[in-house]
């Protein structure tokens, strides 16, 4: 276990080096985009919603900001598990190089998950502070919702890694983003309460991961929020769902990556 973590650290170090080259993209996605999103969705659209006919128990800015924490986690995590992994396997082939050292495919998966946790935590802290400045919520309480948001992201990252490891080309990645990630983003309660969906779709939503991430973040960050803006499901259900997803994700990712890199 210790050995795995030490080796995983090598992956983290390698990522950190690559990160120095791509920092500009990160600044844009983690600082600039949240500011833009919160002001457009929270303030602009929020002014319409708050004077509109929907009766949310919190302001729309608050509602969206908490939803976005989980959704951003999903987007970043899924992104991390897709094209960079395909590049490691197929395009730049650095994973093939890595496994000629004492590192195993499993070490790569764990290492990338650890790196993802660091990166996501950083993104979330920045987002939470910015949203706090916008007046979305009390930053102190909201910071406690960061672990579930990061958990959501890593669960997606590892599951997506498992999926990518079984795919031949990037077409399938485009497809899964279009037919899984985008619909999840739009229909998991980030932008409007699940209760607005037709009953059948609500059941489907319960089965999907981002819904649990969004619920978890809201229930922790906003102690005052009440149904129907959130469901009555207990918090442990959400944790259990995401925890199982992460465990399955890591296991499958390690197995599929191993199969792919050492056929």
């Amino acid at each position: 276990m210790i050995a795995t973590l030490t080796r995983a650290r090598r992956t983290v170090e390698a990522e950190l080096i690559a990160y120095k080259r791509t920092w500009r993209g990160t600044v844009i996605s983690s600082f600039v985009n949240p500011v833009f999103f919160l002001s457009a969705m929270g303030l602009g659209l929020g002014s319409l919603v708050d004077r509109g006919q929907g009766n949310l128990s919190v302001s729309y800015l608050t509602f969206v900001a908490t939803g976005l924490m989980a959704a951003i986690g999903m987007q970043a995590g899924a992104g991390d598990g897709a094209h960079p992994v395909m590049a490691g396997i197929k395009w730049r082939k650095e994973f093939h190089a890595v496994i000629t050292t004492p590192m195993n495919p499993g070490d790569i998966v764990v290492g990338r998950a650890v790196w993802g946790t660091i990166r996501l935590t950083f993104i979330m802290v920045v987002f939470t502070i910015i949203a706090g400045l916008f007046g979305a919520f009390d930053v102190g309480t909201a910071l406690m919702a960061i672990p579930p948001a990061v958990l959501t992201g890593i669960a997606f990252q590892t599951s997506m890694t498992a999926f990518t490891a079984t795919r031949e080309d990037s077409t399938s990645l485009t497809t899964i983003f279009r037919f899984a990630i985008t619909p999840l983003f739009l229909f998991s309660g980030t932008f409007f309460p699940i209760a607005n969906l037709p009953q059948a779709f609500q059941w489907i939503a319960y089965a999907t991961p981002l819904f649990h991430g969004v619920e978890l973040v809201r229930k922790i960050a906003l102690p005052g929020i009440v149904p129907p803006d959130v469901t009555t499901l207990p918090i442990w259900v959400h944790f259990a769902y995401l925890g199982v997803m992460l465990a399955v994700g890591i296991t499958l990712a390690a197995r599929f990556l191993d199969r792919r890199l050492r056929p």
Binding site: I28, A40, S47, T175, F187, F192
Partner: protein
Amino acid sequence: MSVSAPTRITPVGKMSDFRAQRIWERNLLVYRRIWKVIFTGFFEPVFYLLSIGIGIGALVGDLTLPGGHIVSYTAFMAPALMATSAMNGAVMETTFNIFFKLRFGNVYQGMLTTPLQPRDIAIGEIGWALFRGSLYTGVFLLVMWVMGLVESWWALMTIPGAVLIGFAFGSVGLAACTFMRSWQDFDLVSLATMPLFLFSATFFPIDVYPPAIQVLVQFSPLYHGVELLRSLTLGIFDPSILGHIAYLVVMGLIGATIASRRLDGLLRK
């Protein structure tokens, strides 16, 4: 009658001289293999439309537009999504795809050893982006109609309208693409398109903004695209529509001129 002397005129602008369609033939061959990616691309804006129609639309309810018209939020948003998708499609096609062809594999350098010229490539690639964009627009319009969001026959004109938006953004995208050096520069593309998407009176009417910012919004090309399509789908017209069209035409022409010139310089060293 004078006897015509053997002249040596560079044939510019003659119809027989039009060669951009050769680029389309090539792209068609490529797309025949990856049609699935193209096809599934239709769904993305539709998902957005559904999400707004079912969820956010219910939160917002009806809107009163600056002119006093009352419309549902979904009907308000739909043309904005259409314009945004026309913008994104054109920008993606002319930046990502063309950057690849320009900087890797020297595909264009090869083409230029045949009768093709840089201008043919510029027109061909922009035209292709427009063609693809109009397909997406057509499908989106169909979905809008099914959802009962089309108020007027003028809505059919959104197809040429979206082509115009694609032209404006595609030309500028192509021009920008010639200045890009690495994949990292694409961060700047999203740095430009993201705020345009969020702040071009897409999600909410322009009068939500403070007056000073309203002036700023009017500089946004996407604002003009959104307003153009919105008046077409809602069937609400005023003279400002001419301004929107003019803005987009001028922007497209400037972009195409720069792109054509820059391509020439890059390819014919």
